[in-house]
């Protein structure tokens, strides 16, 4: 009898571990995404030059040291609650920016002034390409907000599809690069 009860207790503990791991895994999605993006970018020849967080949004900045091209990320987990993740799937807002170094940042800033004043700039609507400049460092950026379906990249047991993540990031970077260069040469 006592052994039966002990067996029940062991089962309870084991199922608790399983549930606990599920909660922890979901809570870690922000970090898993950061941990997915970094090797993709470093593997593609970019150096991580900035990593910070305000607790909700996570910021990454990479630089291709030869060309000085910069890629910036703002990553936000949209499904921190396990219930949300289970019902809607695991999603993250991913803002990707592409920047080029220029000696004429101020002039370029003027060129894009009308765009920067646009009422659309403040929106998080996916696909809206916005322009910004880091005048101090001499960079002009274009950026776009997307919503990534994390279940496509992160499977059970910490299995990450780096190839798919890379494909999605690089496709976005390439499109932003085309847009920025097109605008600069217009």
């Amino acid at each position: 009898m006592q052994e039966d009860m002990e067996a029940v207790y062991v089962e309870l503990v084991q199922s608790s571990w399983k549930k606990y791991e599920e909660y922890i895994h979901n809570k870690r999605m922000d970090d898993l995404l950061i941990g997915g993006v970094i090797p993709v970018m470093v593997g593609d020849g970019y150096a991580l030059i900035d990593l910070s967080s305000d607790g909700i949004n996570h910021y990454l900045r990479f630089e291709q040291l030869d060309s000085r091209e910069r890629i910036i990320f703002r990553l936000t987990n949209l499904s921190e609650e396990l219930v949300t993740a289970k019902v809607l799937g695991r999603h993250a807002q991913v803002v990707i920016g592409y920047g080029e170094h220029t000696q004429k940042t101020q002039t370029l800033f003027e060129t894009f002034k009308s765009e920067m004043k646009s009422a659309f700039l403040d929106t998080n609507e996916p696909g809206v390409v916005t322009v910004d400049a880091d005048v101090t460092a001499g960079y002009i950026y274009v950026q776009v907000s997307l919503i990534f379906d994390l279940d496509s990249y992160f499977r059970e047991g910490y299995d990450i599809d780096y190839l798919l993540l890379r494909k999605h990031i690089m496709a976005t970077v390439q499109s932003l690069q085309k847009y920025l260069r097109g605008r600069l040469n217009a």
């Binding site: 207790y9 571990w17 898993l32 470093v42 150096a47 991580l48 030059i49 920067m116 916005t130 910490y158």
Partner: protein
């Protein structure tokens, strides 16, 4: 500033980003040996990343902490280089639920519980269901970054050697689950 550009600090020189570059290289190197980054803690001069080994049934996690000691100013960099400590902490976790097993573990491991022991340069820290092995290295960050294949190889070898050493110390503490 309309976008999140203002979130990034203005690091005028590459030396100010060396910690981050090394962290990036560490995460990449760990991915190559099937470790997944699961938590990040980033501060100005101290960064910690915890990894989960995908193919190691023994290790529960491995944390790497980069603590920059010198080189955050141009003068410091010129005088002493970019010295930092790299702390490796490997964890073995024993998932035991059976009261008999727990009792047995408590009796046999009682002498070690919550104690820090030193094995060589490795510190062993016994917690309730975890045993942590820690070793620190003093490094020059410049040896591990921005030198192409040479620095990547050196970093990869250092990491693998450290994991091997810590793992060896922890083997006796892993209970069959």
């Amino acid at each position: 500033m309309l976008s999140f550009l203002s979130q990034f600090q203005h690091k005028q020189e590459m030396r100010e980003s060396k910690d981050e570059i090394l962290i990036g290289e560490i995460v990449f190197a760990m991915t190559r040996i099937n470790y997944v980054a699961i938590t990040f803690h980033a501060h100005d001069d101290r960064q910690a990343v915890t990894f989960k080994p995908k193919d190691d049934p023994m290790l529960h996690s491995l944390t790497i902490i980069l603590d920059r000691k010198t080189g955050d100013s141009a003068i410091g960099q010129a005088l002493m280089g970019s010295k930092a400590t790299l702390t490796f902490q490997a964890e073995v976790k024993n998932y035991m639920a059976d009261p008999d097993d727990l009792l047995h573990m408590y009796k046999t491991d009682l002498k070690n519980m919550f104690k820090l022991t030193i094995a060589g340069q490795i510190k062993l820290n016994h917690q309730l269901n975890s045993v942590l092995a820690t070793k620190k290295l003093i490094i020059d960050v410049d040896d591990y970054i921005l030198k192409g294949e040479t620095s990547s190889k050196k970093l990869q070898e250092t990491i693998q050697a450290m994991i091997g050493e810590l793992r060896e110390q922890l083997v006796p503490y892993k209970k069959a689950n």
